[in-house]
Amino acid sequence: MRLFADFEDRPPLRHEQELLLRAVLASKAEGRDALARWIAETDFDTLDPASFRLVPALFARWGADAAAALHHGRMKGIYRYFLFRSSLVAAAARPVLAAFAAAGVEALAIKGLALGLRYHKNVALRPMSDVDVLIRHADLAEADAVLRTHGWRYRYGAAKKLRDIHSHDYVDDRSSGFDLHWFALPESAAEGADGGFWSRAETIDWQGQPLRMPAREDLALIAMVNAIREADAMHCVWIYDVAALIADAPRFNWNLLWAEAGRHGVRTQVFSALLLLSQVAPWLIPEACLHACLATDPVLTLDRLRAVVAETRTDTLTAMGRAYAAECLGSVRKARWFGLFPARDAYADLVADPAVAKHLRIMRDKAGEIVGIYMHRCHIPLLEQLFVVADAATLAAALADLGREGEITLPRGCLGLREATSGAYAARVDLAAPPHLTLPAGEAGKVALYVINASDEAWVVAEETAALYGISYHLHDDADTLVAWDQPRTYFMKPRPGTLAFVAPGQRLACQMKVHAPATPGRYCLHLDVLRETVTWFSAMGERFPVVALEVIA
């Protein structure tokens, strides 16, 4: 087993997607085998969107092969479709880029246009519905004017345009898109963040028109961060893209990519992408690169190990993984990471990374008594916080045989649900975005933030109770006078039958707090507050939270 299999933390690609990628990228023999399996195992009528986008590449490599005969007609048609679609999208952008140059607006083609033209050398192989272009922030107004002059319009409402933090989406009357970036990535939307992209940019000849684009390592970085951000859709096309970037010339500069990831503050995302790449296409990335990444970033290493432990995968760590982790962590911490976590605060530390509430299932008998739990091993240290333990010896015996996860059976009366004390109502809120937002009157929005359980107790919600933990705000006017106390709630967990949801002490949740703009335009203040529904606002317990400015426009 490869060492870094221990540290994988992304949802794996679907089996069909992996086969498809191997068919497109692997050696001829392995690729043909993967193609045959993909044909045999895939229902073409239910092809997922990511696989759909890889079909042109599959057709380009295997269209003439007998193994592809079953779907040949539609594969060829999909190739034609994207040749048509991507050609129109690229052609629509061409005069805009020429006009940018004439107006003195510097521009870099990023993502699909750069990859399709320069690295895949065929836009059919890199499906795109828009082009992404990076400009200097100072040129935004000029670029916007050029786009409008050329018949493009902002795709969404004016209110959204005000809230865009790194790019505006434009569309023309043929549904081609133009994504105008003044920062390449929303994760690093700050002045100067993209300086390296600009300084290393190269220029190609696009049928008589110069086209600038970032260096291949920078394009790989952008592809990886976008892919990890959109992991739900997991457009595995990015792996095909990165393979083309690597194959373009010898000596792909992994050190540069990693250093730039550090400058952009996206190493967590890039490391996740590198791990996925190493698992799906191990021939593309030397394992030494992954070692080097961790060696140069001890904080990231700790975060990775913390995630492994919090996801209760410690008992599945390979000997190599344990040795490596021990080397990284040092002997003092080793026992905490790889023992059974005897100390409560150790667990609090370990679960600091997971950004969502955790769950375990409880089984009850007809009288409602708890007679079993389905749980992960890493939750053992928390049991005393979640339950009143009437018979510790019986519980310990039941836990002795628990593997990585599983169900333990308990006698009636061994466990009861624990009620929170007033000490549980302590929290800290950190904003993940600037403390101000603008919304049209009556519209909904969100504020990105982190909520930390700063108490010594778990926040526990049993089954279908209404007493949920969540975050909201109190609406004040510009003079800080209270306008409305109760506002929309954003709960940290969903009540489910037979389930105990909890947020461990020290756990840090990532939240998108719902905001509803008042009907009257003006300036407001949102006094954030954590609450336990029907029980208490945390502010009533002496807690203090940030204030966010809200501007409501007509």
């Binding site: 479709y81 050609s87 129109l88 629509a92 043929r174």
Partner: protein
């Protein structure tokens, strides 16, 4: 002598079938058989007179070839070429095939919206609509 009206026009020949895309009008053309071969030769810079001779020798209608060339120019797909012709391999024409012509797909919106998996003829693929769809 002609050349493809690039970058406005994109073209590719796939398994003997030529696809031509006019990115300004949004028109999509396909050509097969003699038309695909003649397009390819013209796109590479072959002398039309040489191609007309090849048509005649193959027993094809040279008038149809000339009309084909005129149509390509009128449609803006080919433009006049400065400089001399290029020697290319002569196409293997078949007099039994239909006179050369491009098939034009001119409903841009329909082309974009036609689902390439579920709404197409399974044997031919996009942009050929399947028989069961309205």
């Amino acid at each position: 002598m002609y050349q493809v009206n690039a970058p406005r026009v994109v073209h590719e020949t796939l398994e003997g079938e030529t696809v031509v895309i006019d990115t300004v009008t949004g028109l999509y053309y396909t050509a097969a058989g003699n038309a695909a071969q003649l397009w390819q030769a013209l796109a590479e810079g072959a002398d039309p007179a040489v191609l007309a001779t090849a048509c005649a020798e193959a027993g094809c209608d040279t008038g149809a070839f000339e009309a084909f060339c005129d149509d390509l120019v009128a449609s803006g797909l080919l433009v006049g070429r400065a400089g001399g012709s290029v020697t290319v391999a002569l196409p293997a024409l078949d007099a039994a095939l239909a006179p050369p012509a491009l098939t034009r797909h001119n409903d841009l919106q329909e082309l974009i919206e036609l689902d390439p998996i579920h709404e197409v003829d399974i044997a031919q693929g996009w942009p050929f609509r399947g028989p069961e769809t309205p």
